[in-house]
């Protein structure tokens, strides 16, 4: 069985800013454990001559030329913002006075 704990799931949820109930944490602990176990199964058959794969396609060096293309207008860029001030996004203060 995997070693995923409820504490780890709660920690990850916190990092990802996802508010989980304790019932959800319990369920995800089991589900994530199963995923980790499944991946471990694959690791059993992978021999040392098989390199780790991050990309399924055998492609490298896909580049674009350094040519400017039109950007969004300011209004388009800001259209999804919860709040704006002039041409800037307005966001809550981040750090408290220390």
């Amino acid at each position: 069985m995997s070693e995923i704990t409820a504490e780890q799931v709660a920690h990850l949820a916190n990092l990802a800013r996802i508010d989980l109930s304790s019932a959800e944490i319990d369920r995800l602990t089991i589900e994530l454990g199963q995923i980790v176990d499944s991946v471990a199964k694959v690791a059993e058959v992978a021999t040392p001559d098989v390199p780790a794969t991050s990309h399924p396609m055998p492609l490298t060096n896909v580049f674009r030329d350094d040519v400017v293309v039109p950007s969004l207008t300011v209004d388009q860029a800001l259209s999804g913002a919860p709040d704006r001030a002039g041409d800037k996004f307005r966001v809550p203060a981040i750090l408290d006075e220390e």
Partner: protein, 501 residues
């Protein structure tokens, strides 16, 4: 903000050994951003250079800028690094409004360049070799402006405004290994190292390298190790130290602050600190916490970068002479003493000096004009010296002095004319009628007139008091509107007065 206790610098060094580390971010001067075709431009209207990719909107897909890769490889090579055969981008996940993507596209365990070295020379002549751990590619964050609270500082702000024009601009982050043995030179090592990086990226042409515009930014890591101990102290990371002088001051400040704290039995918190340019102090920022668990993973939307050895060698062939080697060569060629050469370097006049001398001017004359009159006029106008005149014009001006057409005084007037756009030095001489009067006829007439009007002076000169001739020479030079060679005038005055000399 409570003012920190500082220990006397010399005492701090008696008790502790400073250990340094630097992370220098270099903004590349590509036309477009790292992963999208938005313009990479400083000073555009807020949020005018954004698109779904750099704003992290659904459907946006990154595409790697080839020029940014080339610039990164060239920078890596110039820092003596090996270039990875296989390099990947990774997502560095964090929540902060300076990125709308909620991650920075960076590199983690497979940076494009690694294992470099940079040897710097301090003012004392001491050479220090800084080991470069890695130089990796990433994209820059947007610019936050903190409103309300304490004068735009992050602490106590009421809200923040974000401009994402800078978000996605290509960066190379250069990370050093630990720098030990710096001792009392530690602050100068910081300054000189960052200056050397700046000079290299400028010579490569990969960055505008303007620290005041944030093209080169430095994070300084400082820790102290008690003498006799081999256990490293806890380090602090002072963020965004954005001038050479500030790097020096910030390192020195942290040494003094940490020493006082440790000596009083306190402990150093591993934290980021903010540098305050105005007051010259650092203040505590965020301590390291859970939020620093960035959960790096390979960027699934970008395929790996695997530069062929042929491409790397092709790029290596484009590297300019290393700035430090070039300086050594030029100083030797020009025969300048350190002070003279530093003057040229500090005024950022190496390129124009080299061109002026290549155009035929003697090195000392070129230095005299560029660091003297031209620098003075440039200062007064608030522009750079090389924007006023060209090396060719300065060389031509010096030529006119050397061949006796102009005195220094006349040359200054010619220079004014050239700067005013009146043409080449020769054209200004002709149009303003500024050449030295080399025909003795008019000079003798002016001298005789001056002597006749000052009979007492004439008498003195005849008696051998040649220093009295000054008054006559002055009157003649005035009558000639400065267009005479003072040495020749003196010669003629003594002759006409019948002096014994």
């Amino acid at each position: 903000m409570a003012k920190a206790e500082l220990m006397d610098y010399d005492k701090a060094l008696e008790l502790f050994e400073p250990v340094l580390g630097f992370e220098v971010h270099v903004e590349l001067n590509t036309k477009t951003k790292m992963f999208c075709g938005c313009a990479n431009e400083f000073g555009s209207g807020a949020n005018t250079n954004t698109c779904p990719t750099c704003l992290g909107l659904p459907g946006g897909l990154p595409q790697v800028n080839r020029q940014a890769i080339e610039s990164s490889i060239r920078l890596g090579l110039a820092l003596g690094c090996e270039i990875a055969e296989y390099s990947r981008f990774a997502r560095k996940n964090y929540f902060y409004p300076d990125t709308a993507k909620n991650f920075q596209t960076s590199q983690y365990d497979e940076p494009i360049a690694f294992n470099g070295q940079l040897t710097i020379e301090l003012e004392s002549g001491r050479q220090v070799t800084v080991d470069i751990e890695r130089a990796h590619m990433e994209d820059d964050a947007g610019k936050l402006t903190h409103m309300g609270g304490a004068a735009g500082r992050i602490q106590g702000a009421d809200y923040s405004l974000v401009d994402y024009n800078r978000g996605g601009v290509p960066l190379v982050e250069i990370v050093t290994q630990m720098i030990e043995g710096g001792e009392a030179d530690a602050p100068e090592i910081g300054k000189t190292y960052v200056a050397a990086i700046r000079e290299i990226v400028k010579a490569l042409g990969v960055s505008n390298a303007r620290m005041e515009e944030g093209n080169v930014r430095c994070d300084a890591n400082v820790s102290l190790r008690p003498r006799g101990s081999n256990i490293l102290g806890t380090r602090t990371e002072t963020k965004n130290v954005n001038s050479l002088r500030s790097v020096e001051r910030a390192v020195r400040y942290e040494i003094q602050r940490q020493a006082a704290l440790l000596h009083a039995g306190g402990t150093i918190t591993q934290e980021t600190r903010h540098w305050h340019e105005d007051t010259g102090v650092t203040s505590a920022g965020r301590p390291k916490s859970d939020a620093d668990d960035y959960r790096y993973f390979p960027e699934p939307d970008l395929v790996p970068v695997a530069p062929s050895r042929a491409w790397v060698e092709e790029l290596r062939a484009t590297l300019p002479e290393p700035p430090a080697a070039r300086r050594k060569r030029l100083q030797a060629d020009w025969g300048f003493v350190n002070l003279e050469f530093q003057d040229v370097v500090n005024s950022d006049l190496l390129d124009v000096m080299e061109a002026t001398i290549a155009a035929g001017a003697p090195a000392q004359a070129a230095r005299k004009w560029w660091t003297g009159e031209i620098a003075r006029l440039a200062n007064a106008a608030g522009v750079s010296a090389d924007s006023l005149v060209t090396p060719a014009q300065v060389a031509a001006l010096i030529e006119l002095i050397t061949d006796g057409t102009l005195t220094d005084r006349l040359a200054r007037q010619v220079l004014e004319g050239v700067i005013a756009g009146e043409g080449t030095p020769s054209e200004v001489v002709a149009s303003r009628g500024l050449a030295v009067v080399s025909d003795d006829g008019p000079l003798i007439a002016a001298i005789d007139e001056a002597l006749a009007s000052q009979p007492d002076v004439l008498a003195k000169i005849r008696d051998g008091k040649v220093q009295a001739a000054g008054a006559v020479i002055g009157a003649v030079m005035k009558a000639m509107r400065g267009q005479a060679d003072a040495a020749r005038v003196r010669e003629l005055v003594l002759k006409r007065a019948g002096s014994a000399e």
